[in-house]
């Protein structure tokens, strides 16, 4: 606990690991797959980002590369995690696996509407 | 000089990478280049064998690191003899199958020749390498080529035979890795000569564990009982020339690895007796099973397994004479069994079931092929004027010198069984009446097939009438095998490093 970097790093690591734990707990406790995705994605994304950045701050005085590499890992995580959870949600949805609790009937309509439109338009690259 | 031993491996690999490119230019090159490469390998190995028998063993290092550290290739009289047999046979198989599957599409033909070439190259690599893990890599190359060649026909059964082979082969490679792990953890080296020189310091318990794993793993490749479940299916479902290549090339490489491990790497005293017992069991079980087979190719496959059992018995005698006899047997088997496969697959060419009873009376309509088949059959059971006689005789003398009478009597009994089932086929061919209702239609062999079969027949007759042509080589090789200190000396402390 010498410099400001160390303190920032330590705080970030602690926060991050707590959120990682909460992510695990969330997917354990939540009742159905969408809610699990909610808890899992958000908590682990922030937790992972914060932990990795924390390590980067801890070692930045040693070599600046630690922080840069930590940032690039964080960017990868920040882009890839929501995409994968979106893909999973959409996949479960296409398999007609609906949430346990539906609040209103209109939402069911919204659901079916999407389920019918699963054909995508052609898009070239 | 034509080249160095490493070119035996490097050139086929280079050609395998080149073939997809030249296939885009002219399709016929896909067939021709493997032939050229195999011919080059044949010339190179024979030249090197001649050089080696005059000047002594060649030890080729790779990447400039001397043996305990780098990988090395050992081209001694023994390995050179085996490599020469394999490359000659590989060239003959290529010649036999040159027009093979002409009518199907371009893709499988390209792949067939690549795999055939890699099969030969990896078998040669297994024989001449001096490093255990490198051997493992070559075994895997050989395995993948063999699985694919087995599944070459798109029929029902070929994929199943290939899967069976793959399952056994996968287990074999896993066990081999465990054995390598144990050896490395004890001795800290992977070089065979280095292992052989340090093996006496190893704890006997680990030694036996590693040996058991090794023999189990290689036993699968070398078709030892009870691990040979894959072999008859693979032989009978693969195309004819591939069956010949299996009998002549892959099994030989497997046997070589077993004897190299037992004779050179390990100094476990009971290993020879173990080889003797397992060889005898393989011999008896395989020959009695062959008696009951109804399909020609399966019968040939079981006969091949039995011959390999006999080879292992001869090695298990444990003397120089025994090794001489075993090498003689391997040489003869590598010549005779392909002839049987080639002519046999012509005899039942159009048949779907390929049963033995379908060959009735074909001797009248296909005299040439039938005569060659009969010649092969006489040779392999050991009738006097042919090649097989001398090898069987030398096995019996070697056993007699050691006083192993039980083994002699067993070998004689098994020979009688062999005579029974081969003569049954020959009898059907020549002395029964042709049945018009069977699906077998007499036809003439193609020109390249004729050349191949005649070459093999001439070799059989030459060795039969004039065995001194090969005895010198075989004596050199057997002495080289039994002389472990010289092997270590050659590899680790110079010897003849490189020729160019």
């Amino acid at each position: 606990m010498n410099t400001a970097y160390d303190i920032i790093g330590a705080i970030l690591i602690l926060i991050g690991s707590i959120f990682l734990f909460l992510g695990g707990l969330g997917i354990f406790r939540m009742p159905d797959v969408y809610n699990r995705l909610q808890a899992g994605t958000k908590a682990t994304t922030l937790g992972g980002m914060s932990t990795i950045l924390g390590i980067g701050f801890l070692m930045v005085e040693d070599y600046w590369g630690w922080l840069v590499k930590a940032i690039i890992i964080v960017i990868f995580i920040a882009f890839s995690n929501p995409i994968s959870s979106h893909a999973l949600a959409r996949a479960m949805y296409k398999r007609k696996h609906y949430p346990l609790i539906m609040s209103k009937d209109e939402n069911m309509d919204a659901y079916r509407e999407v389920a019918d439109k699963n054909q995508n338009k052609e898009e070239t690259i | 000089m034509v080249g160095t031993p490493v070119l035996l491996i490097a050139i086929p690999l280079l050609a395998a990478f080149v073939i997809p490119l030249v296939g885009m230019i002219w399709k016929e090159l896909v067939r021709i280049i493997p032939g050229l490469v195999l011919a080059y390998m044949m010339v190179l190995s024979v030249t090197l064998l001649h050089y080696v028998s005059v000047h002594g063993t060649i030890v080729e290092t790779i990447a400039g690191w001397s043996p305990p550290w780098g990988i090395n290739l050992v081209f001694s009289p023994l390995t050179g003899l085996l490599a020469s047999i394999m490359t000659i046979l590989g060239f003959l198989v290529w010649m036999y199958s040159y027009r093979f599957k002409r009518n199907v599409d371009f893709e499988p033909a390209k792949k067939y020749f690549i795999f055939l070439m890699m099969l030969v190259a990896s078998a040669v690599g297994m024989v001449i390498t001096g490093d255990i893990f490198n051997m493992f890599v070559f075994i895997e190359i050989m395995g993948i080529s063999a699985y694919t060649l087995t599944a070459f026909y798109t029929g029902r059964n070929s994929a199943e035979a290939a899967f069976k082979y793959l399952m056994m082969g996968g287990l074999a490679s896993s066990l081999l890795l465990i054995a390598i792990a144990i050896i490395y953890s004890q001795l800290g080296t992977l070089n065979m000569a280095d292992i052989a020189s340090k093996i006496s310091t190893m704890n006997p318990g680990y030694k036996i564990t590693a040996l058991v794993f090794f023999i189990t793993a290689i036993g699968i490749e070398a078709e030892m009982f009870p691990l040979n479940g894959w072999a008859p299916d693979a032989y009978s479902e693969a195309p004819g020339p591939v069956g010949a290549a299996f009998a002549g090339i892959t099994v030989k490489a497997g046997i070589y690895v077993i004897i190299r491990i037992v004779f050179t790497l390990f100094d476990v005293p009971g290993a020879y007796d173990f080889l003797l017992v397992i060889g005898l069991i393989t011999l008896i079980v395989a020959e009695t099973t062959a008696l009951r087979q109804e399909r020609l190719k399966r019968m040939l496959a079981y006969s091949s397994i039995g011959q390999m059992g006999l080879v292992v018995v001869a090695f298990g005698i444990g003397t120089v004479e025994g090794a001489y006899a075993a090498l003689f047997l391997m040489l003869n088997h590598a010549i005779i069994k392909p002839l049987l496969f080639f002519s046999g697959s012509y005899l039942v060419f159009n048949s779907k079931e390929k049963r033995i009873c379908e060959v009735n009376g074909l001797g009248k309509y296909m005299p040439f092929t039938s005569v060659l088949f009969a010649l092969g059959a006489f040779a392999i059971v050991g009738l006097p004027p042919f090649a097989g006689f001398w090898s069987k005789l030398s096995v019996l003398t070697a056993a007699a010198n050691e006083g192993l009478l039980l083994i002699i009597s067993l070998i004689l009994i098994v020979s009688v069984i062999e005579i029974v089932y081969y003569f049954r086929v020959v009898n059907r061919i020549f002395f029964l009446k042709y049945d018009k209702s069977t699906s077998v239609v007499p036809h003439r062999p193609r020109f390249n097939a004729v050349i191949t079969m005649v070459t093999l027949a001439i070799l059989i007759l030459v060795i039969g009438f004039y065995p001194d042509a090969v005895t010198g080589l075989l004596h050199n090789a057997s002495q080289d095998l039994m002389n472990t200190p010289e092997y270590i000396q050659n590899v680790l402390h110079g010897g003849q490093s490189l020729i160019r």
Partner: protein, 170 residues
Amino acid sequence: MKELTFNVKFSRFLLNWLFLMVVWVAFTTSFSSQELVVGLVVTMIISLLSISMFTCCTPAILCPRRIFFMIWYLFVFIGALIMSNLDVARRVLTPSLPINPGIVKIKTKLTTNFSKMVLANSITLTPGTLTVDIVDDTLYIHWIDVKTTNPEEAFKEIAEQFEKILLKIF
């Protein structure tokens, strides 16, 4: 897709190259000349091969105003992320699991695919929402605590703060 003119292609290539070069330096974490030379060659080859891959943006995205909004967006986003995590923590740690999930749809005014992706990712990472599907300009969102099912109100609730900024960037 219509044929791109050379200018558009070239400007995209430059942007791609710049982006990949930044990534390369981040990978190697070194400014030595050998690394930079190899990096220039490699990133040039890759950006030539993937000229239409990276994004539909042109170098105009690098003007200062947009960069300012990007940074602002980043701050807004991080704030929302922290809020969402606190929200998740509250829900997970409460024994009775206070959830009322459902699916609502909202409409966005964004046009390009890339900006829609950024919006959808932001929505996924903000409190109690998860993008399930996207069809043209309609986003279907799983909401852990449905307050309203009206698209406009839901839009105000969920996505307005992001879209405002994204419209200025793209």
